[in-house]
Structure formats: C-alpha cells, structure tokens
C-alpha cells in the first residue's frame, strides 16, 4: 500500500506530462463528473467520507471545510492551493508539483466545481522555481486539452487556474497570510473570524487546501471515500506523504498508510545513519514538540498516536536526530527560525520569539543562567494561544517539548558552560 495516491505515477518515465498522467486514468474522474454533472453535494460528501484531513499541518477535515462555502451565493468564489511548503522538515509538496502536477490540477478543478468557483490560484513558494515551471507546463497542457478555460469539455463549467509565486516568507503558509500575499500585500495573517469560507481572497468566499490534500481528491473520487478512509486508521483516513529527513541513510518522501508504525517508516528511510542510536524525533515539522527516540519507536504515524505522545503529526515531516546531536543547538536553530519568520504584527510573537531565541542562544554559548529554563517555559506559555495565527504556538511548541524531555541537557549547559553531548 505505498504510493497509491499522490505518488501513484512516480514509476513512470516522465510522470509530469499529460499523456503519462492520462495513461494512468488521469482526468477521467473530472471528465466523468463534468459529463454526468455530478451534484457538488455528492462530491463534498465523498470527500467527507474519505476522512481526508488537511495535509498542510492543521489536519482540519477537508470535506467539512468545503461544506462551509455558501455554494449558491452569487459572485466570484476562489479555490486556492497552498504550495508554500515551508515548515522545516517538509518537502513533499515539492514532489507532488514536480512529479504529479496534473493530479493537483485535476483536484483543483474538481474542488472548484464542488464549491462553484471559476477561478483558482496555486501559491507556490518563490524558491520552488523548478516545481513552478512544471506546474506552469501542466497548466498549459491542461488548457490545450480543454481541462481549463471556458466551458470545460462542453459542460458549461468555466475554470481558470494560475500559479502565484511567493517571495520567501514562512508565514505565508498560514492560509490567510497566503491570501494577503496573493492580494499583493505583506503576508500577515488575518484575524479570524471571518474565515476564508466567507471572506477569503479579494473578500470573496474561498477554500484553501494544501497541495497534497487537493492532489488526493481525484483518487478519492475515483475509488470512493471509504476506499481512501480504509487505507488509514480511525480519525486518520488515507495514506499520507511523509517527508523524513535528518540523520538517515535514505531520507526522502514516502507515501504510506496512516497508522504505519514509525519503526517501519524509519526502516524505509534506511535507518539511522552510521547505525547510531536514535535520540529523538520531531514527528511533524519543526513546530511539533520533540519525542524521545525510544518512545517514538512504539508509535504509529497517525494524528491520534502522535497527539497522544504530546506532539502533533502536522505536515508529516519527520526529522530524525541521532545521539550526536546537542538538543540545545537544535533548539537554538529552530528558535532562530521562528524569530526570523515571525511576521511581526502581534506582540507576543514579534517580541517573544526573539526573546526565546536569545535565551536559548545564551545557554548554547555558555552564558545560561539558572533561571533561564523556567523563563523559557514561561515566555513560551505567554506566546502560546495568544497570537493571531499559529506561528506563536509553533515557536513555543519546540521550546516546551525540548525542556520537557531534555531539560537535563539544558541544565548541563548552564551548569558547565559546555555541551553534554560533546562532553559525553
């Protein structure tokens, strides 16, 4: 059960080409929907049944999100794809864009049909030039083949789709920041409510879904929601793309069923490099609290199991750390990231992320003070849950996670002004 959904064409020679995609039944689902004029409610119902949850990291049920749109309200509506893959450790959407762009296009057209949108944008992070070009080429092919434009396949349904390139800002992965960015502004998240389903792009009803989520749609509608749901486990339907990186022999993207034991995923990734000891795993992108290696080996890769261990599955970005890593240094780097990427609009994140970074950095550089660890926990708590978007929580999570599981390493740094790992 690997590579059943988004990477199902990976074995083809040049899977990003239309003819290759069509050789595996590509655009058949769309054609059927357009021909049979499948009621949109049925499509949304099928997506709900699939148990598909947002693959960008938040894990919100996709079908439910679509159902919030007032489909019959007059005026323009938008479908937006979030390909602003930026959570450290995540590199799966890049592969979807590079190797299976047509499935994403097909998924977006179906989504547009389901909510009554005639215009879509795919927000691709600015650094992804090669994936962007693949996606543009796919759009061109799809347009020529009549899958995009006016009156798709004679159905009377219009849909146009464009790419929008980002400019280098992690926060644009937050859906409302992404909308602001498409509107030609700084990517500062909006205060919610209103949610995009009511007030989205250009103030119009909008659905925003992750690349992987939208690319999963054609297969869900082809094989049926229950088929997809059954691949995975309860509350975690389907298979999922896991980006696994770190101290590994064979890092990469693996599409495997939800609920697969972590140990199996680790094995697919070739195991820990050099046969070293697994120290810890960050299971869902750098904002997910760290889990000690031993504990991780007993977990399965699904929302509930990872949440049960005090972390989150997030975008499915698994960072594997071996025993040569100093956790203070790791946290310092992660904290620097959130400090760099905070958009700056709300106080706790703007001021707090810099504070966290500086304290961790002091500890790493042998200038830690005894009160610093409690201070870190307290500052993290004062950011968490008090910001406009989730970046504040994302910055706080790694800090509390590290201090929960590796406090002794931090304490050693403070007491001895040097690293426990190096000293050991």
């Amino acid at each position: 059960m690997v590579n059943e959904v988004c990477l199902r064409t990976l074995d083809l020679d040049r899977p990003w080409l239309l003819e290759q995609y069509q050789s595996r039944g590509g655009y058949e689902v769309l054609s059927r929907i357009l021909k049979e004029k499948t009621p949109p409610e049925e499509i949304i119902e099928e997506v709900k049944k699939s148990g598909l949850r947002g693959r960008g990291g938040a894990g919100f049920p996709t079908g439910l999100k679509w159902s919030f749109i007032a489909r019959n309200a007059p005026g323009q509506k938008y479908v937006v794809c979030n390909s602003d893959e930026g959570e450290p450790g995540t590199f799966k959407d890049r592969d979807v864009l590079r190797y299976n762009p047509h499935q994403l296009v097909e998924g977006m057209i179906i989504a547009a049909y389901a909510i009554g949108a005639t215009q879509g944008y795919n927000y691709i992070r600015g650094e992804f030039w090669e994936p962007y070009e693949r996606f543009e080429a796919a759009l061109e092919e799809a347009r020529k083949a009549g899958f995009l434009g006016k009156d798709l396949l004679g159905s009377g349904f219009d849909f146009e789709l464009h790419a929008h390139l980002g400019g280098g800002a992690y926060v644009c992965g937050e859906e409302t920041a992404l909308l602001e960015s498409i509107e030609g502004k700084k990517g500062q998240p909006r205060f919610k409510p209103p949610f995009p389903a009511h007030f989205g792009l250009y103030g119009r009803p909008t659905i925003i879904n992750n690349t992987e989520s939208l690319a999963s749609i054609p297969m869900i509608l082809k094989e049926g929601g229950p088929w997809f749901a059954d691949i995975g486990v309860k509350n975690s339907g389907g298979s999922k793309l896991f980006s696994i990186s770190g101290n590994l022999n064979n890092p990469g993207v693996f599409e495997i069923p939800m609920g697969t034991p972590f140990s199996e995923l680790l094995e697919m990734a070739g195991g820990v490099k050099g046969g070293r000891k697994l120290k810890a795993v960050i299971p869902g992108g750098s904002s997910a609290p760290v889990i000690p290696g031993e504990q991780m080996m007993d977990l399965t890769m699904d929302y509930d199991a990872i949440a049960g261990a005090g972390s989150m599955l997030g975008s499915g970005a698994v960072i594997v750390l071996d025993d040569t890593n100093c956790m203070v240094k790791v946290l310092e780097r992660m904290s620097y990231f959130y400090h760099e990427e905070s958009c700056g609009q709300c106080t706790p994140c703007r001021e707090g992320t810099g504070w966290l970074y500086r304290v961790v950095s002091r500890i790493e550089n042998g200038q830690g003070r005894q009160e610093d660890l409690d201070l870190l926990n307290d500052v993290a708590a004062r950011i968490s849950g008090r910001t406009i978007c989730a970046l504040g929580d994302a910055a706080a999570g790694p800090v509390t996670g590290m201090l929960k599981h590796f406090r002794d390493e931090f304490q050693y740094h403070i007491d001895h002004k040097k690293c426990l790992v190096g000293a050991g």
């Binding site: 323009q76 893959e85 930026g86 959570e87 450290p88 450790g89 995540t90 590199f91 959407d93 890049r94 944008y121 992070r125 600015g126 650094e127 992804f128 030039w129 090669e130 464009h162 929008h164 390139l165 980002g166 400019g167 280098g168 800002a169 992690y170 960015s181 498409i182 509107e183 030609g184 502004k185 700084k186 990517g187 250009y202 980006s243 696994i244 990186s245 770190g246 101290n247 890092p251 990469g252 993207v253 960050i282 750098s286 970005a317 960072i319 750390l321 071996d322 890593n325 240094k329 790791v330 780097r333 992660m334 990231f337 760099e340 990427e341 958009c343």
Partner: protein, 168 residues
C-alpha cells in the same frame, strides 16, 4: 490617489519587462493589479542584477497604481528581495535543522573559505554573494543550497567546488 503620478506608463521599464509584468497582471481581477507586485518586483530585480533600488520600487508602485510605501512593505517583508547590491550568483545556503544536522556548517565554512567572504557578504569581483536562508523544502537532500533558480542537494566540498567551477 496616493500614488506617484506618471503621465505615460510606457516610459517605465523596457517593453520586455512591461510585457512580463502585464502577463502577471492578467492573472488577477482587473481591479487587483497590485496582486502582481511580487512578480513585478521579482522581474525588475532580476533585470537589475539581483537587487531593488528605491527608484525601481517607486516605478513598480507607479506601474501598478500602488502607494510606494505599500511596495516597500512587500519588498522588505519577503526574504527573496534584495535591497542592497548582490553578486552575480547569489548562493543561498540552508542552515535549518535537517541541513544543520547534516553538516551545513561544513558547507558554509567551505564556501566562506573558498570565496574569502562571510555569510551576508559579496566577493569583491561582484560574482558571489553568500546568504544564509531558512528551510528551502529539500530536507531529503540535506545539506543543500540554491544558486539562482537551481537547487543543489547532498552537498560535499567536492560537489560545491564542481558547482562553482561550472558557473560563469
């Protein structure tokens, strides 16, 4: 309103650049020309050797009927816009977690040694700029870097050398 008055927009930028910007403008609703600001800045930056001057930002503002400050906000918010001159080849090295634990320090050290500059600096001959960047979404190929539009993964000093030698 609030914009720089320009009598003739055809006087801003070259025909090619205007054509490229117009292609982006066409992707958005007619009253949302400003949606093309990120693309316009990128296009203008590329044509200007990789960086943006205040004058160029003002031109973009005029071309897209935006307040100049709105353009400055965008240009200073996104990390891919450069507001100071950069080398012909901007080498962006990821040092985020997955790269760091795969020895991105060695990549940085090697490049700094070889080019004789530190992160954030440009070689005297104007050929190279070294820039530390956040995760570029290619952690499976850590350590990695981006030069221009191209990603380079699984870097070692030897690979880096051969990449640099292949650049003009």
């Amino acid at each position: 309103m609030n914009t720089i008055e320009v009598n003739n927009k055809a006087e801003i930028f070259s025909t090619e650049i205007r054509g490229e910007i117009d292609q982006w403008v066409a992707k958005y609703p007619a009253d949302w020309k400003q949606s093309a600001v990120m693309a316009a800045l990128r296009i203008v930056q590329d044509a200007n050797g990789g960086w943006l001057t205040t004058e160029l930002m003002n031109d973009v503002a005029a071309y897209l009927d935006m307040a100049p400050i709105a353009v400055y906000e965008v240009a200073t918010f996104y990390s891919m816009y450069e507001l100071k001159p950069v080398g012909k080849h901007k080498i962006c090295i990821c040092t985020n977690v997955s790269c760091m634990i795969n020895n991105s320090d060695r990549v940085v050290d090697h490049l700094e040694d070889r080019l004789g500059i530190k992160l954030g600096q440009t070689t005297e001959d104007g050929r190279f700029t070294l820039k530390e960047v956040e995760c570029l979404g290619a952690c499976g190929g850590a350590p990695m870097m981006q030069i221009g539009k191209q990603y380079y993964e699984n870097l070692t000093p030897e690979i880096i050398d051969s990449i640099l030698e292949g650049l003009e």
